[in-house]
Amino acid sequence: MHEIGAPGPIALLISHAVKVMIVFTVIMITVAMLTLVERRVSAWIQDRLGPNRVGPGGLLQPFADGLKNLVKEETYPRRASRAFFMLAPMLAIGPALVTFAVVPFASPLPTPWGLIEMVVADLPIGILYILALTSVGVYGIVMAGWASNNKYSFLGGLRASAQMVSYEVALGMSLIPIFMLAGNVTLTQIVWTQQQELGLWLAFPLGLSFFLFVISAFAETNRLPFDVAEAESELVTGYHTEYSSMKFSMFFIAEYANMLTASALMATLFFGGWDIPFWNGDDMRVVAPGVVQGAVPAIWKTLLTLAAFAVKTLFFVFVFIWVRWTVPRFRYDQVMHLGWKVMIPSALGYIVLIGTTILVLDRAGLPFGFVYGMALTAVSLVATGVFVFWIDRDRSIGGAGAGTVGAGGALPAGITVTRMRAGRPAAAPVEV
């Protein structure tokens, strides 16, 4: 225990204002830069160079785009529902920006005025707050689709709502094993569990959870392969077809802010947040205002852990972009099939499995620690293996083209062939 001293009421107020301002600014600049990163990475993947003419290496391109969007004409469809049409982008961007508030991004910072926690609001409801607000964000998309009075936008809005409803369930369920293990939904507590109590990042003991969370997060952020709500080729970019200039930009910012938050959550929930691996100097937690348990806080430690958090988050952002430019879009029925028939049963089964394992380990009297985590890791490896080698054998993504190779020669003797019916294999394989 280290007594640093709690900040006084005025210092607390100022520190919170500064934190809000810094976090907001950093998110907005990161989002702007992400639009550039997305374009550059997509270009490199396609053997192009991407925007590289505005500023050094194209670094000022986002600002040129922003300026362009500000001065462009605002158009309103004649039959659109004005009020909702204007409300929709606000409803999309607001929740996207405030969800970051509960994510701890560095170790506590000691200042002359007291110890300041590096999280905007360490809410006791933590993840529940994020889940609630991301659900509100969907209303923006649905409302945009409806208010545009355009059938393609409307379809996009419908698809978005159906997709969100399906995958929010899976998203929430993939997090339940974390709550069972950490015994808390506060993000700082979950970081502490990984850092100190378990000594193991939750991606290992809860591997399948992480996997399901990543898939659901892709669906929740409307990123490819789950971008059926936008679907340029089918729906003319769906819900934001009718939006121009800054209103379009707001949807754009919301998408990237959601992506950033989802990446930060992956890093926080499953990869130790701001924890630096194999180093105990950063293992600290605020147990009461101004009182730290564990290592001694220091300014350089705060900066170092902030860098660790940024690296982890940006890695997952890169994965988001990488996947987008690799995988083609799912068909709508594939999205629904994956959501209801694969993700939710898997998540439910995993909850039962982890719950049972925790119960057995507790009964066996194993102390909560590294060995406990390794036991869970072994169980999770089996579960992940089942998912990868059994469920992902034509049971995850089916469809008309699934399970076929193009016209080819004769089959080798003795190979069984399954007949396909609406993308699902029939019960019994048929011998040719």
Binding site: V41, W44, I45, Q46, D47, R48, L49, W322, V323, W325, T326, V327, V388, D392, R393, D394, S396, I397, A402, G403, T404, V405, G406, A407, G408, L411, I415, T416, V417, T418, R419, M420, P425, P429
Partner: protein, 165 residues
């Protein structure tokens, strides 16, 4: 099912969305880090044109600044797009010269037959493609404009070496 095609079903054991996606991601990552993108950074680097590449026209001039054109009328006659307008004139010594010589570069199909047919090697198609304008009228090049062009001209097709080897 169409005649002659056969759909072979793949055994379930060999299908995997994850495996296929991961393989795809490995492929895109290899392209991501691949150095030396096959890209021409256009305004800074210009493409190398073939010597027989045909672009906008250029009128050759004599040393004293007169156009070499003798207004024989062969180029408007052969032009398949009908884009050359020629009004011939004659000076005191009986030399024919073009009073009006206009080429509508919008109508032109850049076949280069005007250059092939010209008996005095006056009109040429050239090695030029950066010819954006603000109005459509500006694309009708008159005689002064054609004579003022200074880009390289296109090599004629050589019948003894049809492939340009």
């Amino acid at each position: 099912m169409a005649i002659g095609t056969r759909t072979v079903r793949r055994p379930v054991e060999n299908t995997s969305y994850l495996r296929a996606s991961l393989r795809g991601m490995a492929l895109t990552f290899r392209h991501l880090v691949r150095p030396g993108k096959p890209v021409l950074e256009y305004p800074d680097e210009k493409p190398v044109l073939s010597p027989r590449w045909r672009g906008t026209h250029r009128m050759a001039v004599h040393a004293d600044g007169r156009p070499k054109c003798v207004a024989c009328g062969l180029c408007p006659a052969i032009c398949p797009a009908n884009c050359i307008r020629l009004v011939p004139g004659e000076d005191d010594q009986g030399n024919r010269y073009p009073v009006v010589y206009e080429i509508d570069e919008f109508r032109c199909i850049f076949c280069g037959m005007c250059q092939e047919v010209c008996p005095v090697e006056a009109i040429h198609v050239g090695q030029d493609y950066e010819n954006a304008e603000y109005t459509r009228e500006r694309f009708v090049y008159d005689l002064d404009r054609l004579m003022a062009q200074d880009h390289d001209v296109t090599d004629l097709w050589d019948p003894s070496d049809p492939r340009g080897e």
